[in-house]
């Protein structure tokens, strides 16, 4: 099948355009009149979704106010394969075993991550979701990775303490979470933090990674950090990024033993 041509969904014959959808509408499914009306509602939605003809193959009342539908139908839409653009992520998301393997082969030791909420921010939800074994969104946190050593300093950590701990632990990466945005506290705190690391470590500073729901992911350079993660980031993405930035497979720049240049990870 051509990768540049026009295609339709495939049910059991090329070009038949058949699909299946299921959804719930807040309509009752009680007496005969209500049932007819509910099916009509489902068909109207299916029509607006581009299913024509559409067939309600299953409808079931759920409590007094809702009805669940399964609908089969033919979509009139065409898929133009030549018009697809795939957003390229700067790094691949790797399974945990692969992350561990790459750390082991590139660093020959555990990758050390120091995490904290800085300033007055007491919201450790984000950093804990990334670091705790418990994890987030069905993924285990960084503590779960055998080749990552996690030091979670918790909430309301002073920048000086964070720098000192990062130094003492020989941190490869520092993860900072910022939820509170009052008077742009998240930006002020992040700039203060990156300035402190730049002056304490110079070019040999650890990778600086910041996360929080209100950051502009494109503002890493402006804030003096290497990477910003936004809402909905999973531990696996963070682990994969750390490996990409710090433990590139040998043969690539910065991957030949020791710590890679933090710059490599800059977006």
């Amino acid at each position: 099948m051509s990768l540049t041509g026009i295609v339709r969904p495939y049910g059991d014959t090329t070009g038949d355009g058949r699909v299946q959808v299921s959804f719930t509408l807040p309509v009752p499914f009680g007496d005969e009149a209500e049932r007819a009306r509910a099916e009509g509602a489902a068909l109207q939605l299916a029509g607006k979704m581009g299913l024509d003809p559409a067939m309600v193959v299953h409808a079931k009342g759920m409590g007094p106010d809702f009805t669940f539908f399964i609908v089969y139908g033919r979509v009139s839409h065409l898929v133009d394969l030549s018009a697809i653009t795939v957003a390229e992520r700067e790094f691949p998301v790797l399974p945990a075993a692969e992350v561990n393997l790459r750390v082991r082969s590139a660093l020959g030791r555990k990758l050390v991550v120091v995490g904290a909420c800085i300033g007055t921010d007491a919201h450790t939800v984000g950093i804990d979701a990334i670091l705790n074994v418990k994890g987030h969104a069905g993924e285990k946190g960084l503590e779960y990775y055998r080749e990552i050593r996690v030091v979670n300093m918790g909430a309301q950590v002073g920048v000086a303490d964070l720098v000192a701990r990062a130094m003492a632990e020989h941190a490869d990466a520092v993860l900072v979470s910022q939820v509170v945005t009052q008077r742009d506290a998240h930006l002020t705190n992040t700039r203060e933090m990156s300035a402190a690391f730049h002056s304490a470590f110079g070019l040999d500073r650890p990778l600086l990674v910041v996360g929080g729901p209100r950051f502009d992911p494109g503002a890493a350079h402006d804030l003096g950090v290497d990477k910003i993660f936004g809402r909905g980031t999973t531990p696996g993405e963070v682990a994969s990024y750390l490996v990409h930035a710090l433990a590139a497979p040998s043969g690539r720049p910065g991957g030949s033993g020791g710590m890679a240049s933090p710059r490599e990870g800059a977006a």
């Binding site: 719930t24 804990d128 979701a129 074994v133 069905g138 779960y144």
Partner: protein, 518 residues
């Protein structure tokens, strides 16, 4: 129950004895130490509620003030009630406000003053325990007036973050067939060293456990229980830094089941092991008094470790949870030991292995209301395959006579369940119960067949591991990553600064009353 697996009773007794030997030193530790949360729970039982304008509970303010002034080595009760009496305060709340402002000079009372403080503290705490006793009686009365659903109980989760959204969802779930409603807590509540106050409308992926939220939800479920003629139970989570306090609040507001694991906080939340074991013991004493069924968290181990390789660690943890639970006064009927259907479906004979594990646990703990958890790790986003896997889970549940089935969602790991996901999940379990509910009575594994052999192998591995834990010490074993593949040293983790060694003359009115009855 007659055994189906030919387990050697001597081996089973040996396993229990090894669990006791492993747990005993930790119990001794818990008996000789206290924590800030245990002391705050005493104040909560004595009726101190509410929070300052920043939301910090008065129990925290008062406990902190006492600790700064005279320490907690003798417990919070002696200095607090002494200050209450000698300062002429009308109630603990007024005392806490002044103490929070640094206006109270605490001391450790001696002689007649100490007797007076002890007597007054005991009277106040007794009122809290009386309320817990009354709530337990009220549960019995409600169950008698409605009805007790047959097992397995269908356990469904609600988690919107907003208690006022949770209530109609929980009532709808009950009408759809749920016997137990669990309100999942906001992510990270287990790491808060205080219990939030009041009705809450925002949480992260869950709703805060607060006394007012407990009260609102129990009231709503009482309404729907009467409507359905079936008692709908309410579950919440005691795990975390505030186990003792949340246990007290659960008893005061008549929750029916509580997640309470002896090691969950240690392994998965990096809470200090010593803190956890002390808090756990007190919280379970309160649960025992309240008639609350605990749910343990062994299912979690299988989300990190492999469900076949680590099957014996589940059994070891269950035996430890049983030992610690009984020691704290829980009856076997209150031990909702947990396990899970988490074997990779690509493994040959995976269903037989699941049956072996589930039947083994059923026979090891014949009187425990076992809580069986559905697949999560191998739910891939293929909702159709997931629905099939959930049906096999339900089948294993009825075949091996599990007591509480947490209902699996085919959209596990994708999103919080749609209304339709929950409805389909209930249709799944209803079909399996209707079609195969009595299959257990005809399920007789071959005496030396695959299932029976596998069960005996897991028991043997569990005994070996318990022996190693006993010789090195439970705290060391946890420090070396025995459970959930995570290492948790005894001097690490959160909350260690809240642990205090009891001095001679330590006084805790709640513990005295709870030890007597347990």
């Amino acid at each position: 129950m007659t055994g189906k697996l030919n387990l050697d009773p001597a081996l089973v007794a040996r396993a229990r004895e090894l669990a006791r030997l492993a747990g005993q030193p930790v119990t001794d530790l818990a008996r000789t130490h206290t924590t800030v949360s245990v002391e705050r729970a005493v104040l909560r039982l004595a009726g101190l509620d509410g929070a300052d304008e920043d939301g910090m509970p008065w129990v925290n303010r008062l406990t902190d003030a006492v600790r700064e002034s005279v320490g907690l080595e003798h417990g919070v009760a002696l200095p607090a009630w002494d200050a209450l009496l000698t300062g002429g305060y009308p109630d603990l709340r007024t005392l806490a406000v002044d103490a929070g402002s640094g206006l109270v000079k605490f001391r450790l009372p001696m002689g007649a003053d100490a007797d007076a403080a002890r007597e007054s503290a005991a009277r106040s705490v007794r009122k809290g325990l009386d309320r817990i006793d009354a709530q337990r009686a009220e549960r019995d009365r409600m169950v008698a007036a409605t009805s007790d659903p047959p097992m397995p109980w269908i356990y469904l989760i609600v988690a919107t973050g907003d208690i006022y959204e949770d209530i109609p969802q929980a009532q709808a779930a009950a009408r759809e067939g749920a016997d137990v409603i669990a309100v999942i807590r906001s992510t990270g509540q287990s790491l808060l060293d205080y219990v939030p106050e009041g009705a809450t409308r925002e949480g992260y992926a869950g709703t805060y456990a607060t006394r007012e939220n407990f009260r609102l939800m129990r009231g709503a479920l009482d309404d729907v229980s009467r409507e359905l003629g079936r008692y709908v139970r309410l579950t919440n989570y005691a795990s975390g830094l505030c186990m003792p306090e949340i246990a007290a609040l659960a008893g005061l507001e008549r929750l029916d089941m509580m997640l309470n694991d002896c090691m969950y906080g240690i392994i998965f939340r990096d809470i200090n092991p010593v803190r956890t074991f002390i808090d756990q013991r007190f919280s379970r004493q309160v649960h025992a008094r309240a008639g609350i069924v605990i749910n343990t968290g062994e299912d979690n181990y299988l989300t990190t470790a492999d469900a076949v390789d680590a099957a014996h660690t589940v059994v070891v943890s269950q035996l430890l949870n049983e030992y610690f639970g009984r020691e704290a006064g829980l009856a076997d009927g209150q031990l909702g030991l947990g396990h899970a259907f988490e074997i990779n479906p690509d493994v040959p004979d995976s269903f037989l292995l699941e049956l072996a594990h589930a039947q083994l646990i059923r026979e090891l703990f014949p009187d425990a209301p076992l809580k069986y958890m559905p697949p999560t790790k191998h739910m891939t986003g293929n909702v159709f395959a997931g629905y099939l896997l959930d049906a096999f889970f339900n089948l294993a549940g009825v075949m091996t006579d599990q007591s509480i089935l947490l209902i699996g969602m085919m959209t596990e790991g994708i999103h919080t369940p749609f209304l339709s996901d929950r409805d389909l999940a209930l249709e799944n379990v209803r079909y399996v119960r209707r079609a195969a509910g009595r299959l257990g009575e005809s399920f007789r594994p071959e005496p030396d067949g695959f299932v029976a052999q596998r069960a005996r192998q897991v028991l043997g591995e569990a005994i070996d591991l318990l022996g190693r834990i006993g010789s090195q010490g439970l705290l060391t074993a946890i420090g070396e990553g025995t459970f959930g593949v995570t290492r948790r040293p005894a001097d690490g983790g959160r909350g260690l600064d809240g642990v205090v060694k009891q001095a001679g003359g330590y006084y805790n009115p709640a513990t005295e009353m709870l030890e007597v009855t347990s």
